[in-house]
């Protein structure tokens, strides 16, 4: 079902012959350009130059890519789909504690993974850090992540939040659950994700677009738990209960509930946290779904070491460090998520939502069944 991009290199072959001479000419044109601006280059120009030097040094070692090339003082390079303001404080702290520098490239996960794959052995990246298990699963399937054998990670991260083959580990937990209007809904009416498909919620439900991976993951785990047929009935029920078109973001959805456009919805908890931090009186509250059955659907942000990492030792050290107490607390402080490490308590606002039962189905299912979930949502006309 999945087609590896590597196949495509066969199609590139015919270009090889005449591509080079043209390219070199074109490079001449562009280099003359760059020469113009080189003098005015920013400090970052130095950074990227430094980066290039490092990779040039390690280029001869490519054959031994799996072996650990330890450059103790070399930077760890991270491809991250997690946003800069959420990772930079963590990396800064890591550098302060260990002296190991961290460089990162942020971007959308699809293109980042495609880039990592295209770069192959040449890649700069030591770590792939993404939001959502599905992305990590897809990168691991493409052979882009190498297993990590680490007692620290095994101890700190619960089994259901890590790859069964240890190619990636969850670092923070994002719970997707029900929010409701405190003005128009009695929480006793609420129970589970499936119950939102009941006619009782006709014209009262708000959903975010099915394009968002959070919804794909939720439906994927429902497929694993309930099977395709029942899941599709549920999703169709949701769609027929919709109060309005789907939203492009969770924050907009919560605001719509507060404004009275609809009464219940499904969101990641930290979105509510952000709005509660701005406005403690927002008339929207959180309800932990499926507490009498499978538990609340959770997803992760997580990381793995790339197959062709040049600084594997540093990369493993960084991921291990991220699973320890201080950075785990920072995850919840920076973005109101839950620590993946069960021994660490979150910040007060997050703790105020109370304890909840987590779905302990391995999050790997979110990736494995994501394509099925997307197709199911298409069939149910969930847009």
């Amino acid at each position: 079902m999945l087609v590896l991009l590597n196949d495509n290199y066969y199609h590139l072959r015919p270009f090889k012959g005449f591509k080079m001479s043209r390219l070199s000419l074109n490079i001449l044109i562009i280099i003359s350009f760059l020469a113009l601006v080189a003098c005015s280059a920013e400090p970052s120009g130095r950074e990227s130059a430094g980066l290039n030097t490092i990779s040039l040094q390690s280029a001869p070692d490519q054959g031994a890519s799996q072996s650990e090339i330890t450059e103790i003082n070399g930077p760890v390079i991270v491809y991250s789909s997690r946003q800069e303001h959420l990772i930079k404080p963590l990396f800064d702290r890591f550098t302060a504690e260990t002296g190991i520098k961290v460089q990162y490239q942020t971007g959308e996960e699809g293109p980042l993974i495609a880039r990592l794959q295209a770069e192959g052995e040449q890649t700069f990246a030591d770590i792939l850090y993404t939001v959502d298990a599905g992305n990590l699963w897809s990168a691991a399937e493409k052979g882009l992540l190498a297993p990590i054998d680490s007692e620290i990670l095994e101890h700190n991260i619960p089994d259901h939040l890590q790859d069964p083959l240890n190619r990636w580990f969850g670092l923070s937990v994002r719970a997707r659950t029900i929010v409701y209007s405190t003005e128009r809904v009695n929480p006793a009416e609420l129970s589970s994700y499936t119950a939102l498909a009941n006619p009782q919620w006709q014209g009262r439900l708000c959903l975010r677009t099915s394009r968002k991976v959070y919804n794909m993951s939720l439906v994927a785990t429902m497929i694993e738990r309930l099977g395709e047929t029942e899941t599709q009935e549920v999703v169709e029920g949701w769609v027929s209960n919709l109060a309005t078109r789907v939203f492009s973001g969770d924050a907009q959805l919560i605001e719509a509930i507060a404004a009275g456009q609809c009464d219940v919805g499904l969101v990641n908890t930290y979105y509510l946290g952000q709005l509660q931090a701005q406005n403690p009186d927002i008339p929207v509250a959180l309800f932990w779904a499926n507490q009498n059955s499978s538990g609340v659907h959770v997803n992760i942000s997580g990381a793995g070491v790339t197959t062709y990492a040049k600084n594997r030792a540093g990369a493993v050290q960084l991921i291990e460090w991220l699973s320890t107490a201080e950075p785990q607390y920072l995850f919840s402080d920076l973005n109101l998520e839950f620590p993946a490490n069960p021994d660490v308590s979150p910040v007060d606002l997050v703790a105020s939502w109370g304890d909840y039962k987590q779905d302990t189905l391995n999050v790997e299912a979110a990736g494995r069944l994501q394509a099925d979930a997307v197709m199911l949502m298409d069939r149910a006309d969930y847009r």
């Binding site: 495509n8 043209r22 760059l34 040449q122 924050a251 907009q252």
Partner: protein, 539 residues
């Protein structure tokens, strides 16, 4: 080295082919994805046919028709008013009406939805006055998307048709009037047909941008062909089918452009550029008020409202993000814009020039084919294009041991591929209005192509070149998806900053970089219009 009429053409033609080949390279990689149709691909295609392909095609078609109509109505009418008529405020509107160009589509979309949706201030106020069930149009539907895209894209049509109207002046209209046409008839039967190449060039740009747009439509959760490309890629993890979908988009664009060109080729319009002074229609009374009001309304909705809302959000969320790194974002944004603008302009000029060189039928059609291919990139969604380029460059890197794929060079080529059409349109439209006889005369007198280019074409083309450079500059500064994935380490730009902030739905914190981006875009737009004005009054 005296030679025949076509001596020297050879060199230029080769150079043009080379440039076109490099720009077309990522497009070819995308097209090559049809080589892979395994069972997984078949399953996805079947699924798309069964579930949503028809709806997506219909949505996309409605969007193209709606935006096409919208940008023509707005662009042509505003261009006509500000060039041929005189009314209070005209000199301000002349350049200010270009300003929506500086507002990125995705920014316009989230500002508009933030104001107009159910929880926004307008609907909330309406509910207070008229009760909970107060009727309000469905702002998130097709009409809303068309409205937003028309507002941010009409400047392409406005800008190009303005220069056409400036060149044509009032004389043609007057000639039409003398032959017994009414003013309205003269407008539709003389002024518009003569300006048609320019209008169509602007329209083509607006529509290709519409087709490539992912940002604005996804804020609206509106499904189009382009969102399907992303869905197949990110949801179904299949980049091959995504590229195949993208190439269908390209096919559609190519066919449309060829059809338009064929219907136009029968007629060719050139004229003397030496119009002494542009005589204008002095609007008075109601007409003057209506003209001023209309321009003011478009400016208000298309620029003042979004900027005002962004400034409000910026004040609300504070200036905490304003640190020393901010200067770096600004610097990279401008630097990339200027480099890409200059590079794209050189290639566009080269292609447009070589297209007009004498040569055999085969070489001529080969030239126009490669130009057509190279300018298609504008209809490709940025990140699909970026993947094409990354695949190409990493292949080169592996063969040669270079490090191009993560360099500024790769990013600049991505911009060339994406925005060549933007610079090519005004340059080509400008060359279209240079009489072939001028070039023929110079060639007959023994001038080689290089000299013709330097001494005749470039001076005559100055407005077109400036237009091309400015639009590419502004477009590159706004460009997000390709920049996001291809920027070298440390090369964050303002658009990347906006993405970072909006990725988690925090629109308000994106206000600071958005406002900065708009302000940076204002300056070149202002300079462009001012120079266009001075050059016409000088002649």
């Amino acid at each position: 080295m005296n030679g025949t009429l076509s001596s020297g053409s050879w060199f230029w033609r080769c150079l043009a082919f080379l440039a076109a080949a490099i720009v077309a390279f990522p497009i070819l990689i995308i097209l090559s994805q049809w080589g892979t149709v395994g069972s997984g691909e078949q399953e996805i295609w079947q699924h798309l046919f069964d579930t949503k392909l028809d709806r997506l095609a219909l949505n996309t078609l409605m969007l193209v028709l709606g935006v096409g109509l919208g940008v023509i109505l707005l662009g042509v009418s505003l261009a006509w008013l500000t060039t041929i008529c005189e009314f209070p405020g005209r000199r301000l509107f002349e350049w200010a009406l270009m300003l929506p160009l500086a507002v990125p589509g995705y920014v316009m979309a989230f500002v508009f939805l933030g104001i107009m949706n159910y929880a926004g201030p307008i609907q909330t106020a309406m509910r207070k006055f008229f009760g909970q069930d107060a009727w309000f149009p469905d702002v998130q539907g097709t009409a809303g998307v068309i409205f937003i895209l028309s507002l941010v894209l009409y400047p392409y049509v406005y800008m190009l048709s303005r220069s056409a109207f400036l060149n044509q002046g009032r004389q043609l209209m007057d000639a039409g009037r003398l032959l017994g046409l009414s003013r309205l008839q003269a407008f539709f039967r003389v002024a518009i047909p003569v300006a048609r190449p320019a209008i169509v060039a602007g329209l083509a740009l607006a529509l290709m941008e519409t087709l490539a747009d992912f940002g604005a439509v996804s804020v609206f959760s509106y499904d189009t062909f382009t969102t399907a490309i992303y869905d197949v890629w990110n949801g179904l993890f299949n980049l091959t089918v995504a590229a195949q979908l993208a190439s269908l988009l390209l096919l559609f664009v190519a066919v449309t452009l060829v059809l338009e060109k064929q219907s136009r080729d029968r007629a060719r319009y050139t004229q003397d550029n030496h119009t002494s002074q542009i005589a204008t229609y002095q609007l008075i009374g109601f007409k003057a008020i209506a003209a001023t009001g209309y321009c003011a309304l478009v400016l208000f909705i298309g620029f003042i409202v979004p900027l005002g809302q962004l400034v409000l959000w910026m004040l609300k969320s504070g200036f905490g993000a304003l640190d020393e790194r901010y200067l770096g974002y600004l610097g990279h944004t401008v630097l990339l814009g200027v480099m890409a603008g200059a590079l794209v302009l050189v290639i566009a000029l080269l292609l447009a020039f070589v297209k007009r060189l004498p040569g055999t039928a085969v070489s001529k059609s080969a030239t126009s084919f490669s130009i057509r291919l190279a300018t298609l990139g504008y209809a490709l969604p940025g990140s699909v294009l970026a993947v094409g380029i990354i695949l190409g460059f990493t292949y080169v890197d592996r063969s040669l041991g270079t490090l191009l794929s993560s360099s500024v060079i790769a990013l600049l080529i991505a911009y060339c591929c994406r925005f060549l059409a933007v610079a090519y349109a005004p340059v080509d439209a400008g060359l279209e209005q240079v009489k072939p006889s001028v070039i023929d005369a110079a060639r007959a007198l023994g001038a080689k192509p290089g000299r013709v280019l330097r001494q005749i074409i470039i001076p005559l083309l100055k407005p077109g070149l400036l237009t091309g450079f400015t639009i590419v500059l502004v477009d590159v500064m706004k460009e997000m998806p390709a920049t996001l994935i291809m920027r070298p380490f440390g090369w964050d730009t303002l658009a990347v900053r906006i993405y970072t902030m909006t990725a988690e739905g925090q629109w308000e914190t994106a206000a600071l970089p958005a406002v900065t981006l708009i302000i940076v875009g204002l300056l070149p737009v202002y300079l462009l219009i001012r120079s266009a004005r001075s050059s016409t009054s000088r002649i």
